[in-house]
Amino acid sequence: MDLSTTYMGIPLKSPFVPSACGPLSRDVGMVRALEDAGASAIVMYSLFEEQIQHEAQELDHFLTRSTHAYAEALTYFPDLDNYNAGPEEYLDHLCRVKQAVDIPVFGSLNGISPGGWTAYAKKMEQAGADGIELNLYFIPADANLTGREVEQAYVDVLAEVKRSVTIPVAMKIGPFFSSTFEMAKRFEAAGADALVLFNRFYQPDIDLEELEVKPSLILSSPFEMRLPMRWIAILYGKVKMSLGATRGIHDALAALKLLMVGADVTMLCSELLRHGPRRLTEIEMDMRRWMEDHEYDSVGMLKGSMSQINCAEPAAFERANYMKTLQSYERYRVA
């Protein structure tokens, strides 16, 4: 059984790639365990430029606040020679991960400034990353910002990063573009080597007792894979970039569906957080079993077979799909 695939020009032994999810890649031992469990590559947790800047400012603030104000306590902390106030901690870790495993390691970057995007991307390349995933999203809460401006900002960042590195670059995007297809083409034109669909946003919640808005992370549910599945199905064969699927991949069947609509890799997070690296082995075995049962020799054979261009009902991935669902709902109610 040949599970191999190619992602951004890099051959992978299988389509299973743990996604840019914090806890999985923060520990070198865990990355090794993921490799042993069958991961074909790993996307590191994201380096957040905003967080780095915030921490640096915070450190500076607290180290200098109230200094030279009172004769007995001119400072409150030792003046250490070196602080990793920049991305060094992330880059060192990336380097350690890279040395610890044989699979490709992709850096993930969430920048806020044009300089930050390019500088950090370059440093990731220097630290040994095999590729970079740009984790690009923000909430355009400014009423004066047009959709076109937002889109152009995304494209500009990608183009800048592509100019600064030689390793492949993937764009991980959200599902809220007015025209996802058009954006995909623009990203491709700007040099993206892959499109990863879709980012899950942390949606804030409200604590009714405390009357506070609180960040809340809910792990994905299996249903969520439907959205990337639709868009990968639509894009497959119409763009040259690799397509990465992420969101709601909890079992082999979900992975199979995504591969069938055209994904080159399937990225997992919630399922591995819940059950640990060994779950990856189970999913891979389940996939092998299913493929054997259904007489598929390779991932290559099934990849894109259910995409919009290859399936029997191309319109099903568009509006018709919605209509059909309504109809089935109506039937259910009558029954």
């Binding site: 104000a69 306590a73 602080y83």
Partner: protein, 1192 residues
């Protein structure tokens, strides 16, 4: 040989040599010597090697006595060893100093000389401390400038090995230790050249070793002790020559020549001043000035003070000398004169009796005192002393620099006398501690000192407050080495970084004609003039000052600098002053920014660059009309209704005119009235909390946590509202008790520091807009007038009767009047809420013994003190003895109270017939276990006093004197963790083990906060502190558990932010317990590197993660058959990291050494779990019935 010029202060200069020349360094923090230990610890943590390529072992001890013991041991075992100290620390070392010297052990102790605590503590500089050790056998070597500190530190280290006599190398605290100056650094080869390897080998050979064992430290008897003490004489006789030889060797190599006594002045001088330390610079420069004017004066600067070489001293003096003044920077009451004076007199007497005098006739010798506690010592004073020496009968035992209108020792002097040179730029900067002014000025000194051929000097004056502190920077720049160790009195550049200072101070007082004034002002150059107070306008016109203005806060906002205006104002200084060409200066500032902030991230550098670039466009010269237009005068420092003492003594201190007070103005024994902070309206808060009754749930938490008693609650009768100002807010009291009454939460607008703790703790949200609460921060300025009126009215509302209040509740406790108010503690201080609570619960009958530290500083530092009195004139009586003895000091209070109460009872019993049976019995048998009982006893004592006053019997008189002791007193022993865990632990342990009824409150900030954040044994594992720069590797000492082992002491660990009810309960139980009680209170601190407004949240998390267990151990319960240990916290659920990494003290280690941080955090986590296991086991096993130990 490369000897780069750098700018550094005296402590760094000393540490530079000491660190390189040592293998073992024992340290302990004390101002102003602490930075020497800090540098050593930091360099060791960075693995910097000493001269021999190995990193010295640097060890913090529990006290200076401990440090002395440790260096004694290290010396005996053969190490090259040093330590650093000042003041009381040196006194604590005395026993070991005798030992180290007695055993002829080479060592150097570097001392930043500081006043000793006498009628008051002072952190500032004089020679009281070093003069107290002149009998120990240590050689005493004195430096008078930063350059000399570096040079003579080496002479000391080099000579001690050859002489075998240990050295104290001292320099003036603050004046030299903290002056930043341009100096030539010594190269390592210079150090190697002067430290003889052969002598090191000899030192090693004398070391204690089982391979060539000897015994040292014997006990001797009358037969030989005397002779043995005399056996060392030849070593002491040799020292002067050895030191001079080393100085000559130094001169040959480096070029600067020193002598045991350095003479400067006219070769045929007739009048000479002999002096030690930095004052020598002033005398020498003044003598030079006077000689140029034709006067025959000179100066002898004493370098080697012990052993005092008469021969060298006489050699140094010109034979023409007719009169000598020996100036001492110390005071020895009752002596024939101060030490240097006595030495000079003795030197002349001896040389005369030996017939060896070179003088035609013996010069007159007079002695004088100057400069105690860093009192200014200026050329004007020196000039006056020279004038005095010219008199036929000069005044002996004089003082100079003060006005002694009581015993008339002082010399009046011409304050306008000056020797400042025209080509020296003299700049004064008035700033706030929080605006970064001093940091920026240190930076400017560095830029000019290190990047130009100019010399530079920076000296910084701080006020005595920890919040809203005012700083004044004194900077000189010039083409020659600057030898002016005194403040600038004639400035040609003055910057005022806070516009509101103009309302309070005459910042132009020191301005010369034509000076430049730089103002940080919110007004445009056109508008500025009309916003200046009249006195400032007058000064500007009178002195023809040019005025430049910039809205630095606006520039800071534009460039993301927040409230830090340091870089902006620094840029302005360089742009206006012309010290450097503008472009060159900007480049230098930017270079310096990169050096300073580079390690903290590119973005920080970028923001500072932006600030520099934006500054110049916003800096303008203001239009100065030729007439005064303002009618605004400077408001009085204290209001008219202030008591006389405050008007006469406190007000001048507040105005910065304390130097002008004569001796007669000062209390003779250090006794001051309490409650004086109320007269100092500091107005330091930009925003203050304003109560919104609509949403208030009357929980009183805001008042409870307020560190400054600046937000208060009152419950009162509605009639009290009559005459209330319109803006006064009030609501119905909702509690079942006091039904029908009204309540108000009121802010003291001018006393609030704006810390925000109250708003953060407020649990009541505004339901219509949840960003608001029942109390919200609002800009102070527009509200000041109204709120001032409201607060004044609030204070006039009668207090509730204490007997009716349920004091054990949060609400009840906050109905009690705080008798600790408006202290100068940091905004958001975590300690003071506990002290305020203490004052509310027991203040009207409390005596407080306060260990030296933060609480003694904000509690007792002049000008004003926060301990206050109630309407009856009762309140806490407070005193600070020392750092190390506080538990014993407080125990002494108790011993006295118990004895006098017992004696009063005896007398009442004996006088039963005369006093009346009923009264006597009631007095003797009074139940004072609650407020009612205490109230009734006070009334009985009042009756008793009336009756005693009419009686003539001696016993009646005696009882009248001590009758108040019949009312229950509450003794509190208060201090920080440095005292309780370290230096004072022995005494604390003694007191805890006693049966006496004292209450110990440990304000545990887990670090030596007052001296700037050095590690104590309370510092938790993984936290970074000074002296633990690599993260503290050992776990926090469990002081409470140790105290519990006696089984007879009440012990509680509390954290107000985690469980306020438990905290109040612990205070009440501890006070009620008739034996020793220990309360250990988690006190968040600015030294934790946290957002202080969220301090209570830190406390909560510290408990949730198990770092800070809450419990109460009450031995009374055991005697009642109950479990004495009550756990008030639950099994830790929050990871320690989630608590810790909100605090810079932990977080910074993840940035500097992530691996160590991870390792230590894992251990800290295990510590928390282990603590839980231990306490939960103890809680279960303590109970006679095998109690369940479940938390409440």
């Amino acid at each position: 040989m490369s000897r780069p010029f750098v700018t550094l202060d005296g402590t760094e200069a000393a540490a530079y040599v000491a660190y390189r020349a040592s293998e073992v360094i024992a340290i302990y923090p004390i101002t102003p010597s602490s930075p020497m230990g800090e540098f050593s610890d930091q360099w060791a943590s960075e693995n910097r090697p000493n001269l021999w390529g190995t990193v010295p072992h640097v060890m913090e001890m529990q006290s200076e006595a401990g440090a002395a013991g440790a260096i004694h041991g290290a010396l005996q075992a053969g190490a090259l060893t040093t330590t650093f100290t000042s003041s009381q620390g040196l006194l604590l070392m005395i026993p070991n100093l005798y030992k180290i010297a007695g055993e002829l052990t080479p060592a150097v102790i570097h001392v930043a000389a500081r006043s000793l605590a006498a009628q008051a503590l002072s952190i500032f500089g004089d020679h009281s401390d070093v003069m107290s050790v002149r009998g120990t056998g240590f050689a005493l070597l004195s430096s008078g400038s930063v350059q000399e500190v570096m040079d003579l530190a080496l002479v000391a280290h080099g000579t001690t090995l050859e002489a075998r006599v240990p050295f104290i190398h001292f320099f003036d605290g603050f004046r030299t230790s903290h002056e930043v100056a341009k100096v030539e650094t010594l190269a390592d080869d210079d150090l190697r050249a002067l430290i003889d390897e052969g002598c090191i080998s000899a030192h090693r050979a004398r070391a204690l070793s089982p391979d060539h064992p000897v015994i040292r430290g014997t006990a001797q008897n009358p037969d030989v002790y005397f002779q043995a003490r005399e056996s060392v004489n030849r070593f002491y006789l040799a020292i002067p020559e050895l030191v001079q030889k080393k100085m000559d060797q130094f001169a040959a190599r480096v070029g600067r020549q020193y002598h045991l006594f350095d003479y400067a002045g006219h070769p045929q001088a007739e009048r000479v001043i002999v002096i030690l330390g930095s004052g020598g610079e002033t005398v020498e420069e003044t003598a030079r000035f006077l000689v140029e004017k034709g006067e025959k004066v000179g100066c002898v600067r004493v370098r080697l003070y012990r052993p005092f070489s008469i021969e060298h001293f006489m050699e140094a003096l010109p034979k023409t000398v007719k009169a000598i003044a020996a100036l001492d920077r110390t005071k020895e009451p009752g002596s024939l004169g101060e030490p240097l004076y006595q030495d000079v007199v003795t030197a002349f007497a001896e040389s005369l009796s030996n017939g060896a005098s070179k003088f035609a006739s013996p010069p007159k010798v007079i002695g004088g005192r100057y400069g105690l506690s860093s009192k200014e010592f200026t050329p004007a004073m020196v000039n006056r002393v020279f004038e005095e020496l010219a008199r036929e009968r000069p005044k002996n035992h004089f003082t100079v620099g003060i006005e002694d209108d009581v015993t008339h020792t002082s010399l009046e002097y011409d304050q306008d006398f000056s020797i400042e040179e025209a080509d020296v730029v003299r700049a004064l900067f008035h700033g706030l501690g929080s605006d970064g002014t001093v940091g920026a000025n240190k930076n400017s000194v560095k830029i000019i000192g290190e990047e130009t051929p100019n010399y530079a000097q920076g000296y910084f004056v701080y006020d005595s407050k920890k919040s809203g502190a005012v700083t004044v920077s004194h900077l000189r720049f010039g083409p020659r080495a600057i030898r002016a160790p005194y403040l600038i009195r004639e400035a040609n550049f003055i910057a005022c970084h806070q516009f509101n200072f103009l309302e309070r101070y005459n910042v132009l007082e020191e301005a010369v004609e034509g000076a430049v004034l730089l103002l940080n002002s919110p007004y445009s150059p056109e508008e500025l003039w009309d916003h200046l107070p009249r006195p400032i306008q007058e000064e500007i016109l009178a002195k023809k000052a040019r005025v430049f203005t910039i809205d630095a806060y606006d520039v800071a906002r534009q460039t993301g600098m927040g409230g830090r205006i340091n870089t902006i104002m620094q840029t302005c200084f360089f742009a206006i002053s012309g010290v450097l060409p503008r472009e060159e200066a900007i480049a230098a500032i930017k270079h310096s920014i990169e050096k300073t902030y580079g390690k903290k991230g590119e973005n920080i550098v970028k923001k500072n660059f932006e600030a520099v670039d934006t500054t110049l466009a916003n800096l303008h010269e203001a239009r100065i009309p030729d007439q005064v237009s303002s009618r605004r005068e400077r408001p009085p420092v204290v209001p008219d209704e202030a008591p006389d003492f405050v008007k006469l003594l406190t007000a001048p201190l507040l105005a910065g005119h304390g130097d002008r007070l004569p001796v007669s103005a000062l209390p003779v024994d250090g006794t001051y009235p309490t409650g004086t902070t109320q007269w100092e309206k500091r107005n330091i808060a930009q925003e203050i909390p304003i109560w919104d009754p609509e949403w208030c749930i009357q929980c009183a938490k805001c008042a409870l946590v307020c560190p400054h008693a600046a937000i208060r609650m009152k419950v009162y009768n509605a009639e009290a509202l009559s005459g209330a100002p319109e803006s006064f807010r009030s609501m119905d009291w909702r509690g079942p008790d006091f039904k029908g009454l009204k309540m108000t939460i009121q802010t003291a607008p001018e006393d609030c520091t704006g810390c925000g703790l109250c708003v953060e703790i407020c649990p009541a949200k505004n339901k219509r807009a949840t960003q608001f609460k029942a109390i919200n921060m609002k800009p102070q300025l527009p509200l000041r007038e109204h709120e001032r009126e409201s607060y004044r009215f609030f204070l006039s509302i009668p207090e509730l009767d204490r007997r009716e209040i349920k004091v054990e509740t949060i609400k009840g406790s906050q109905m009690l009047e705080p008798l600790f108010e408006y202290s100068g503690a940091c905004a958001g201080c975590g300690e003071t809420p506990y002290l305020k609570l203490l004052s509310q619960l027991f203040g009207d009958r409390a005596l407080i013994a306060n260990a030296t530290g933060c609480s003694s500083i904000y509690g007792g530092n002049l000008p004003t003190t926060p301990w206050a009195k109630n309407g009856d004139g009762r309140g806490p009586a407070w005193s600070n003895s020392l750092f190390e003895d506080n538990a014993e000091f407080g125990l002494g209070f108790r011993l006295c109270i118990d004895k006098l109460a017992e004696h009063a009872t005896e007398l009442a019993d004996r006088l039963r017939d005369q006093l009346g049976e009923e009264l006597a019995s009631a007095l003797i048998a009074a139940d004072q276990s609650d407020e009612s009982g205490i109230h009734d006893q006070r009334e009985r004592v009042a009756v008793l006093k009336e009756r005693l006053a009419k009686m003539d019997a001696p016993e009646a008189k005696r009882l009248l004197d001590i009758a108040d002791y019949l009312v229950k007193k509450s003794v509190w022993i208060v201090g920080g963790d440095g005292w309780a865990y370290d230096i004072g632990y022995g005494g604390l342990d003694q007191v805890v083990s006693s049966s006496r009824n004292v209450n110990i409150l440990v304000l545990d900030t887990e670090v030596y906060s007052n001296t700037g954040g050095q590690a104590s044994k309370a510092t938790p594992r993984g936290a970074v502190a000074k002296f633990a720069a690599g993260g503290k590797s050992t776990a926090k000492k469990d002081l409470g558990l140790m105290a519990m082992t006696y089984g007879t002491a009440y012990v509680a660990q509390i954290a107000m932010g985690a469980n306020d009810t438990q905290a109040i309960r612990a205070f009440i139980e501890a006070e009620r317990y008739n034996g020793p009680s220990l309360i250990i209170a988690y006190s968040h601190c600015i030294a934790h590197g946290i957002d202080m407004s969220k301090g209570m949240d830190s406390q909560k998390k510290a408990v949730l993660c198990g770092h800070w267990p809450l419990y109460r151990f009450n031995p009374d319960l055991k005697s009642q058959g109950e479990n004495p240990l009550t756990l008030d916290y639950h099994e830790p659920k929050l990871p320690v990291a989630e608590y810790a990494y909100q605090e810079t003290r932990y977080k910074m280690l993840t940035k500097s050494n992530p691996d160590a941080a991870a390792r230590l955090m894992a251990l800290a986590q295990e510590d928390a779990l282990e603590t839980w296991r231990r306490y939960s086991t103890l809680a279960a096993s303590f109970s006679p019935s095998g109690g369940n130990g479940k938390p409440n």
